[in-house]
Symmetry: C2
Subunit: 282 residues, 2 copies
């Protein structure tokens, strides 16, 4: 049982953390910090939060666990702004989609003022955003990556892992750099590719969209994601993303060459290999 | 009411046509032509087909409507092989994913032996294939493109349009070349891109697949499609596909440049434009 949980950012992820904790009675007190308290009012009105404040330092005072549920670039600012206000024994985690810069920031701050941070990334979300779409079961069955380093305290790893497991998630541990390369490949690259697909088709074949079937819709659903959030993710994880993009381009070039050569047997063998790889995913 | 309907190829599409027709009592007799009659036996056993034959000429004899439900390259061969066996007043259509070559083939055959063909392309399917996944409601609410030319007989346009509408589809009319450009953009390009995504990630970041969330799975679901079918589609529609691929690459390059430049406002504006375009799709 957590005493006081403070969630900074009451959107889809922060709101879902609050609802999940509330549904399980896992904290005595759940406090929200929002840039605009009026917009987070719904979460107090429906009983999910005990109260909401716009004052970050006041919001984290006395907290046992702090979850930073803001866009990825904002998280670094939040760490900076709240660090000195954190209780000495509080544990801080986040939900940012890239981890190396955030973890480095927290470790730099901890070098001067020892406080306890462990990076998290719940692989759950939606192309929709905001508290209105938050749900208590968002993390049920989802993967959450936690990213300890040599500097991480075992009690923080234990507490944060236990917290996500309590919310129904399966926790996977990766180093921050390995995490960033992995999510560049399986999350940021597909997002970028889906965006480029929508952009190319809507600009150059707008009439074709009228006959788009399920394949196009599924492949591009994520392109309706929040532009601010994804701009921050792309810029924050630009280097691993460009590496993932390079190998995507190599794979695409190879397929295009095989098709241009009209080599039916080779194209079919490549597609069969790809089908096998895809079918290994649940 | 159709008298005799002959369906050549009893897989997902051909089987679904048969089931849909049977469910509506829309034909007096439904005959299947299969390369291997034993493998189509299930469709006779469950009452969907009246009978099945391996003999194409015999199968189309006396048919009022013939639906060619084979992979796209096979359809040209089927046209060639069955043309002289067709009844004079039969109407032939198909389900091929590219249309220019098939329509040209039929028109070349008709120049010597006048018979009536109209190209169709139901924008419905699945990453699964085979009669086992055929369903009577596959065309319900789906778009079917029909591709008449100046040479098409009005009675064929009327009959084929009415046929698909009877099966619950919304019929869209496009010239064969316009169809091929449209499906290259909204079907073949996304498929190729999904394949390249799976290929790049499974070869270069196999461990990352373990944390893949819904975004990656949705974006790449179609990469598990039938390799033979997709090899044929890619080769049959290679030229329009390469054009679509060029504009995809331009869109991707532009996004990459904006990210590399670290221009947050520009990236966000581009993503907002893309989100708007995507949200216009149902």
């Amino acid at each position: 049982m957590i005493g006081r949980l403070t969630i900074v950012g009451i959107g889809l992820l922060g709101g879902s953390v609050a609802k999940a904790v509330r549904a399980r009675g896992a904290a005595r007190e759940v406090i929200g910090v929002a840039r605009n308290a009026d917009r987070a009012r719904a979460a107090v009105d429906d009983g999910t939060l005990d109260r909401v404040t716009e004052d970050l330092a006041e919001g984290v005072r006395g907290a046992d666990l702090v979850v930073l549920a803001a866009p990825v670039r904002t998280i670094e600012d939040l760490l900076e702004r709240m660090w000195s206000a954190l209780p000495e024994d509080a544990i801080v985690t986040d939900v940012g989609s890239s981890k190396a810069a955030i973890v480095a920031k927290a470790e730099a701050l901890a070098a001067n003022t020892p406080r306890t941070f462990l990076g998290s990334h719940p692989m759950a979300g939606s192309e929709k955003s905001g508290y209105a779409v938050a749900r208590a079961d968002l993390f049920q069955g989802a993967v959450v990556v936690v990213t300890p380093t040599d500097a991480s305290e075992p009690r923080a790893v234990k507490a944060v892992t236990g917290f996500w497991e309590l919310l129904g998630a399966r926790v996977v541990t990766l180093e921050p750099d390995a995490h960033d390369a992995a999510v560049a490949a399986i999350s940021h690259l597909p997002h970028l590719v889906a965006c480029a697909l929508v952009d190319a088709v809507s600009r150059e074949w707008p009439h074709a969209l009228g006959v788009a079937a399920r394949g196009f819709k599924d492949t591009t659903r994520i392109a309706a994601g929040d532009p601010t959030m994804w701009q921050e993710i792309f810029l924050a994880n630009a280097a691993p993303l460009r590496e993932a993009l390079s190998s995507f381009r190599r794979a695409l070039d190879e397929l295009e060459r095989q098709i241009a050569a009209g080599d039916a047997a080779l194209v079919e063998a490549t597609l069969a290999r790809i089908k096998d790889a895809r079918e290994k995913l649940a």
